[in-house]
């Protein structure tokens, strides 16, 4: 086996040094009843054969390589500068362990510190952790933090929050015997203000909104944080970080916890993972944040150094009193985001936001002109929007997919009342020709 350096001679010498006659003697502690069963997995293949096979299996997927995709809904196709995957493939980054030995991990630790700084800057929050599994689990941990902090038992979540996020939040809250209640949305896609005010009681420990929400609508959250705080609850805001060069960030909305999906920052869509949950908070909540934190300090010679810090919150120190059980997080994905944001910089993050605004608005205007399709031209959007068709979405798919176009996400599976509606996304990756072709193909389904 080409990954296993021991030779037969090594094995003999080593058994001799150990002082046993055969390898089996080393397994004496395993009850005989459990031994001797040969496992049988799929047949082994050479590297060349395996690569051919993987290529062949890959051909049964439609991907951005061979299709024009207008899918968003929490996972987005964005331009990734070539230097991002180049740096990520540095062996010293991707084959390193969690930086428990700071002297041997200054690269990882400084990158973590820079990532935290970038996320804090982008979200307008005081602190960020070193990453979480994904946007949905980040939200779940934020909900639990808020309930622990307030000593309350209920979370309110807008129904316009990503359906998977709400499901994951429910899984975590139910397992800890906490309650969850939803806030509906109005015809314009904005959360229902009256309903929100009615159910915002003193039992509520946290309120969750997402902007742009799952329907693509940028929520107007004017006054929301104040209302939430007046009731003694915390405000949790989910945002799309790539929108924050142009859209008002959680810090400017007065959020206590800012969470969401960092996949848009340099990570491919990867069929849903690995992704990057970002998790940022106000300074007040710093010592309650789950997960790793990198901090700046000095070494014994007074030199700048970086370490994992505030570890008293964590499972390997606190065991059953830890603030979360998380240990392995999404280190390399956080590095991707760190690289992406550093490359784009102050101007680039605004620019990419503006291009997304432009592409989505152009496409919405064009689709709005088609017979048999309706859009809401007044809804504030970032890079995706709802289209209502007077024919079944399946019909549109069956015409467009064979032509190499993935037209959008069917909304009826998430919101039963939204029959005929689908979600369309256009990012900076789309050219004018791409958008015009999509519109033309859509019109031909009529």
């Amino acid at each position: 086996m080409h990954y296993h350096p021991l030779t037969e001679e090594d094995r003999r010498e080593m058994l001799e040094a150990i002082g046993v006659r055969s390898f089996k003697d080393l397994l004496a502690g395993i009850p005989t009843k459990l031994r001797g069963r040969e496992i049988s997995v799929a047949e082994s293949a050479s590297e060349l054969e395996l690569r051919r096979e993987i290529t062949r299996i890959g051909q049964t997927n439609l991907s951005t390589q061979n299709a024009l995709s207008f899918l968003g809904g929490g996972s987005y196709d964005h331009f990734i500068p070539t230097s991002v995957p180049q740096i990520l493939s540095r062996n010293e980054f991707y084959t390193a362990y969690t930086p428990y030995q700071p002297e041997a991990s200054q690269g990882t630790l400084q990158a973590m510190f820079e990532y935290q700084s970038l996320i804090a800057e982008l979200t307008g929050m005081a602190v960020s952790n070193a990453s979480h599994y994904d946007g949905a689990t980040s939200l779940a941990e934020a909900g639990l933090l808020a309930l622990r902090h307030t000593g309350r038992r209920k979370v309110l979540v807008a129904r316009s929050v990503h359906p998977h996020y709400r499901e994951v939040l429910r899984t975590y809250l139910e397992a800890a015997d906490f309650a969850l209640e939803e806030i509906g949305f109005d015809a314009d896609g904005q959360f229902g203000r009256d309903e929100f005010q009615d159910i915002l009681t003193e039992e509520v420990g946290a309120v969750v909104f997402q902007t742009p929400n799952f329907l693509g609508v940028v929520e107007d959250l004017q006054g929301v944080a104040d209302q939430v705080h007046a009731k003694g609850a915390l405000s949790i805001l989910i945002t799309n970080p790539i929108s924050l060069g142009v859209l008002r960030p959680p810090g400017e909305w007065g959020a206590d916890l800012a969470v969401g999906e960092g996949q848009v920052l340099g990570i491919p869509t990867n069929f849903g993972g690995p992704y990057l949950g970002y998790f940022a908070a106000t300074g007040e909540l710093m010592r309650k944040i789950p997960g790793r934190l990198a901090g700046m300090t000095i070494d014994r010679e007074g030199k700048r150094a970086f370490v994992l810090t505030l570890q008293a919150r964590e499972q390997h120190i606190r065991r059953e009193r830890a603030s979360s059980n998380i240990c392995t997080n999404e280190g390399l994905c956080a590095l991707a985001a760190c690289l992406y944001l550093t490359l784009l910089g102050k101007e680039g993050i605004r620019e990419v936001g503006e291009i997304n605004l432009d592409r989505a608005h152009y496409l919405r205007d064009e689709i709005g002109r088609l017979k048999g399709f309706q859009v809401d031209p007044r809804a504030p959007i970032f890079n995706e929007f709802v289209v209502r068709a007077d024919r079944p979405f399946a019909e549109i798919c069956s015409r467009l997919i064979p032509r190499g176009i993935l037209p959008g996400i069917d909304l009826v599976s998430f919101y039963p009342e939204m029959k005929g509606a689908f979600l369309v996304c256009a990012t900076e990756t789309k050219t004018k020709e791409d958008l015009d072709r999509f519109v033309k193909e859509l019109s031909s389904t009529g």
Binding site: E167, E301, H316, R318
Partner: protein, 513 residues
């Protein structure tokens, strides 16, 4: 604070007007961005991200990478972490655009390749562990544990026994076990180890009762020892009405050797980033698939992947499921890497993994035990624990030995864990290290043992040859600087120069410690 140019932050290298990415300029709407979005919804103050060109960014990060140890540059005998070689063909597969460029919400018929990988990986993991079904959803081992314990809870609730509120955990367990149980509101009961480092059956018997929900066990345990009484243990827990949870952090010892399913475990999590060679990435992403026995299948999280004829599909309609654990379908990219690894090795290769891992560990243990005593001197599985308590008289701790190893070009073992061994050094060589490397490691520890006798300060003050000396962790925790903004505030308050090169200055931060 002394800041050498090598540890300057990207923010400190920033110059207004530089940018590191070229984006498409053309606008299709002919409208300004500000006219597209109402003013109250717009950002007011720009995000102060660094301004650097691409070559500066690349040099910055390549130089940072050089300050890391990694498995591709160093031996990492880190117990319970299975730091083994990460095959490059795995990385090739995961980067293939035909996989990486697939959107998770594409119609199933356009993602058949991905679904096939998930399905086939599940079949292999079932065979390897002896479990009946797997969820591939969990993002890491700790989330796998959470998933498993949520199923324990759902299982007991479904049988009208929600009062089973106690989770048993051996005193040698990983910190995540009690943390996970407590996260779900369980009362954690510690089970004692016996003098041979195994679960003490008397202690276990006394802890079991009508409130027992589950025993969480690592086998081989964190001392690297196989629980010889495992069949009795699982029987005792089952008789008391509890379930058995297998912490798969130490699974590298068992491929083709023994299966948790045959031992009587009901739930198993695996760390694909340990046994199945997906890279650690400096702290993730990992993946923590969870396998269960038939009676727990109804509670698995959604979605599962089903095969019908030649077609693969997601099953979302599972009424008793604990729900969704993660958006979309888990850490797909890591699943593909693990699939490629299993396919490369095949059944015989997998068995060789554990055999060589066990052989390497026993060889190291045998050669090292005269230098530092072994916690339990018996044949071990894939790892073992040494105790440096004798060195303590000279004021040397296990941590110091680990730090000194860094100077010799070896990553430190896991130190001060498991908690049941004083001054523990937990060593796991894995199967991808050669005998020559192990011999060099033995030489290094022999040399360090000599240093402890002759010049303990050399060890106590180690490392001496790395980018930094020992950092002040107490200062970091007491006075947290977690972002560049924190540092700016700090350096401004202290009359600093915003991160200018300050090589000649006295350390200032230390005044506060």
């Amino acid at each position: 604070m002394l800041i050498d140019p090598e540890s300057k932050l990207s923010f400190e290298k920033s110059r207004p007007g530089r940018h590191g990415a070229k984006l498409p300029k053309s606008h299709f709407t002919k409208k300004s961005a500000s006219s597209l979005i109402p003013e109250p919804l717009r950002r007011r103050r720009p995000a102060e991200l660094p301004e650097l060109t691409e070559p500066e960014v690349v040099r910055h990060f390549v130089n940072l990478s050089k300050k890391n140890f990694s498995i591709d540059t160093h031996f990492y005998p880190l117990g319970s972490c299975s730091m083994k070689y990460n095959p490059k063909v795995n990385e090739w597969a995961a980067a293939e655009p035909s996989f990486a460029g697939v959107h998770p919400l594409q119609p199933e018929e356009t993602a058949q390749g991905w679904l096939r990988i998930c399905y086939e990986l599940e079949q292999d993991l079932k065979e390897i562990t002896g479990m009946d079904r797997f969820t591939l959803q969990p993002a890491a081992g700790a989330q796998g544990e959470l998933c498993g314990m949520m199923m324990v809870r759902a299982y007991h609730a479904s049988r009208g026994e929600p009062n089973r509120r106690k989770v048993l955990v051996p005193d040698s367990s990983h910190g995540t076990n009690p943390a996970t149980a407590a996260f779900l509101g369980y009362e954690v009961v510690e089970v004692k180890s016996n003098t041979r480092g195994r679960v003490d059956l008397g202690s276990l018997r006394r802890s079991l009762g009508s409130q027992t929900a589950c025993l969480m066990l690592t086998n081989p345990n964190t001392l690297g020892l196989f629980e010889e009484d495992i069949l009795q243990i699982t029987e005792m827990v089952h008789k008391a009405g509890g379930l058995l949870y297998y912490d798969g952090a130490n699974f590298n010892a068992l491929l083709g050797i023994a299966r948790p399913g045959d031992m009587g475990f009901d739930i198993v999590h695996l760390n694909l980033h340990k046994t199945f060679t997906t890279p650690h990435g400096g702290g993730g992403p990992g993946a923590g698939p969870v396998g269960v026995k038939e009676r727990l299948v109804p509670f698995l999280p959604i979605p599962l992947v089903e095969k019908c004829g030649d077609r693969f599909s997601f099953d979302l309609n599972r009424p008793q499921t604990i729900g969704r654990l993660k958006s979309f379908h888990g850490q797909a990219g890591m699943l593909l890497r693990a699939y490629v690894y299993i396919r490369t090795l095949g059944s015989a290769g997998l068995k060789q993994v554990s055999e060589d891992a066990i052989l390497n560990a026993n060889y190291l243990k045998e050669r090292l035990k005269d230098i530092l005593p072994v916690a339990v001197d018996e044949p071990c599985m894939h790892e073992f624990v040494l105790s440096a308590k004798a060195a303590k008289e000279k004021g040397i701790h296990a941590l110091d030995i680990g730090k000194r190893l860094l100077d010799y070009g070896f990553h430190a073992p896991t130190v001060h864990f498991p908690l049941v061994v004083p001054e523990a050094l937990m060593i796991e060589p894995t199967e991808t290290e050669s005998k020559e490397t192990l011999d060099r490691f033995i030489e290094a520890l022999t040399q360090i043992a000599r240093e402890i006798d002759e010049n303990p300060d050399l060890v106590r003050n180690a490392p001496h040859s790395l980018p930094i000396r020992r950092p002040d962790e107490v200062l970091a925790a007491r006075h947290p600087i977690l972002t560049y903004r924190d540092w700016l505030r700090e350096s401004t308050q202290q009359g600093g120069t915003k991160g200018e090169f300050e090589s000649k200055e006295e350390p200032r931060l230390s005044f506060r410690s």
